[in-house]
């Protein structure tokens, strides 16, 4: 009987290159979503240079820098996780994914303290303090909350996606020979990192 042999060599209908290209097309729409916000930010910064400068002076560079390090490290762990699964090391791949999700949580906790600090001092749209700010500075904070908020949403979604990938690795749906799903999940995570790479200098560093 030769059935076992035929099933193991049976050709799977799979096109990894196309699946990856589809993921990239989705990432382009994400880029243009944030791109629109970057455009609004640049124009208003150009029109209100003083107010934007004052606004960014009040952001905590240390917190921003800490979160930058957390995100680039999480990008490293997810990249290493892909290397691990390609080399057939399932346990290491799972541990690295867990580390990535842990770092995503660290990022969110930092953001909680950062936002919490401002909200504690009534620095958010709607308060009397906020209404008394020069219009440009108000704009800066609205954009700060919106851009970091939308980015934070992507961190949460990315962490959920990576958790699902972890489940797939556990169930052997992602393996040494079939890992394009993990690569695509990783691509999404790296995009979140890429956006932060630009958000950090634009919001925190340019005074």
């Amino acid at each position: 009987m030769n059935t076992n042999n035929t099933t193991s060599t049976h050709h799977e209908h799979r096109d990894d290159a196309a699946r990856k290209m589809g993921m990239w097309l989705f990432l382009f729409t994400e880029l243009l979503l944030f791109g629109g916000l970057f455009l609004v930010y640049s124009i208003y910064r150009y029109l209100n240079p003083e107010d934007f400068s004052n606004g960014s002076h009040h952001l905590d560079v240390f917190m921003g820098a800490l979160n930058t390090m957390v995100l680039i490290t999480s990008s490293l762990t997810v990249a290493l996780s892909i290397t691990a699964i390609q080399k057939g090391n399932k346990t290491l791949a799972l541990r690295l994914l867990a580390a990535t999700i842990f770092l995503a949580l660290v990022f969110l906790v930092n953001k909680y303290f950062e936002w919490g600090h401002k909200i504690h001092y009534d620095l958010y749209p709607g308060t009397d303090l906020f209404k008394a700010l020069p219009p440009g500075e108000g704009l800066f904070y609205v954009l700060y909350y919106f851009m970091t908020g939308l980015h934070m949403l992507h961190v949460i979604v990315g962490a959920i996606i990576l958790a699902v990938m972890g489940k797939y690795i556990k169930d052997d749906k992602i393996t040494k020979d079939n890992y394009v799903l993990l690569e695509n999940g990783g691509l999404y995570w790296h995009l979140v990192d890429l956006i932060w790479i630009y958000l950090f200098p634009l919001l925190y560093l340019i005074h």
Binding site: I43, Y46, I72, A79, K87, D193, I206, H207
Partner: protein, 95 residues
Amino acid sequence: MENHKHHIVEYLTNLYVWVGLAVLTIVTIWVSEFDLKMLTVAVALGVATVKAVLVLMYFMHLKFDSKILTVMVIVTLIVFLSMIVFTFFDYTFRA
């Protein structure tokens, strides 16, 4: 059997990229302490772009994948940059 279509990025390569990203982050924070006047924005965005290229090439595998993906990324960036440049033309030359 080795499948040459799928290049594996070594653990160490990924680690070197991370070191590069960390160093550039420190550089961009350090530089922001100085008053570079007109160059402030250019330097900050320049360093960010070097970091972005590192992430795109190594973490996102563009260097090792089919070149069509790199072409697609570049086209998208050109569309995005045109959007910014033309809007700025409007605001700069408005009477």
